[in-house]
Subunit: 270 residues, 2 copies
């Protein structure tokens, strides 16, 4: 059974709530950590969000998200770097464990150029991130997102991208939905030791109803979650475990019932 004290609620599991509503409901139920999204922070305001997080005594496991580095022209790429620097500021203000980076897809420039722009983008952030005390967490997404969201698709590739930088500043996120299929997943988790900045859970239903909004509640899919969590622990990561479920059916439900079910399932299945 997963330790309730490690639970973190990613805001996109209950996206109908504002930052303040999420904080209020999580504090009431004793959830120790949350992960906040930038578009939600913008709605509430960063200063007010920071204040509410501190007043509630909540821990911020991550800020979502930076990245999206590839773009066809240099000006657009520069603007994206600027936006990433603002994301670093926000993660610093919230004392988040990490800023999650979803690096961007192949569609606008082709996969080879996209990979090169991702390397350049990461290089452009890391000094600023180090100075701000913010850890950059590269998230390999499932290969079905390589076209539109992330040319970074495997743990192996994420570790290679992180390798030139200090393990104090650049690491990775392990999300079961994105990595469960990998024939080398346990070996790769072991290799990631020292670079794991976060662990995300959800589940993979069969059939998968939608690429983006099809993942499901833990226990409703086919991922064998407990061995993955144990492997991540054996690799040295004992920090918050974020529940991040993009699912239209859950989003249409009352967020409070989603939250209570999430807590039950976390303890039973993670």
């Amino acid at each position: 059974m997963a330790d309730f004290r490690r639970l973190s609620i990613n805001q996109m599991t209950v996206p109908r709530w504002s930052v303040l509503e999420l904080i209020e409901h999580c504090a009431q139920l004793g959830v120790p950590s949350i992960s906040l999204w930038r578009h939600k922070l913008q709605e509430t305001g960063l200063a007010e969000s920071v204040r509410a997080v501190r007043d509630a005594g909540l821990h911020i496991s991550s800020v979502c998200r930076g990245g999206t580095f590839p773009a066809p022209d240099a000006q657009a790429r520069k603007e994206r770097i600027e936006d990433n620097l603002r994301a670093i500021d926000e993660a610093a203000a919230l004392r988040a464990d990490a800023l999650v980076l979803v690096v961007g897809g192949a569609h606008s420039v082709g996969i080879d150029s996209a990979r090169s722009m991702v390397r350049d983008g990461l290089a452009a952030l890391q000094t600023y991130a180090t100075q701000a005390g913010v850890r950059l967490a590269l998230e390999p997404l499932h290969p079905m997102f390589a076209g539109d969201r992330s040319v970074l698709t495997t743990i192996d590739e994420a570790l290679a991208l992180a390798a030139p930088y200090s393990a104090e500043t650049v690491g990775i996120i392990l999300d079961v939905f994105h990595i469960w299929w990998d024939p080398c997943v346990f070996k790769q988790i072991e290799r990631a030791s020292g670079r794991i900045f976060g662990y995300h859970v959800s589940d993979w239903p069969v059939p998968l109803p939608d690429i983006l909004l099809g993942r499901c509640m833990m226990g409703d899919g086919i991922i064998n979650l407990i061995p993955l969590r144990q492997a991540v622990e054996a690799a040295g990561y004992i920090g918050p475990i974020e529940v991040e479920i993009f699912n239209q059916v859950l989003w249409d439900e009352d967020p409070h019932s989603v939250l209570t079910r999430t807590i039950e399932r976390f303890v039973q299945h993670v």
Copy 2:
């Protein structure tokens, strides 16, 4: 430009046609090779299909498909092996270059057991296939199919599965739609030298409208096809190149116009 003489039309690109209609239209346009599906062979009858193929002077690049090894009980697994032996008979009768194996997904037994049942299933076929002179072609599918269709998701894993057997009998299919995202794809194609029994093309549109029926005509997506074909050639495969496009919009079109467009796009983009 791809050599027209290497073109093969996979029947599921124009599924409204029966075996006999596919043969007739391909022969009229000088298409040298086709790939046939077992449910279509059953409709027409194997003997009549074999006769029509020979009369038209067509080459059969593959028969689709065997596999689907995992099942919760031993009796069901045995029946699947039996069905695979019949598929081998059909591929032999058609003198196909290979029988394509789509190994089956994780959903009914979990991913670890599924992988083990795939290994056992392949082992149960290979003597019979060798005696029948039929080559077994393991097809790694895109990881988004790991739940429902194929726990075999990478070239690397397919080569490991094939390794215990003779390269005369067990090899792999390389399908761009399934492998294009892999950060190691060129290295893996090189490693596959001597085991490549087929090469399949289509394209990946952004956004991908559907997991199963979303792939598109070559040139309408973002896969850089020519370097992949060249890598496959450099690895020694110079046989037929199958166009296999599962796409509901194409399926709703007049098959003859799909076929003529496929020929144009093959020469331009593959």
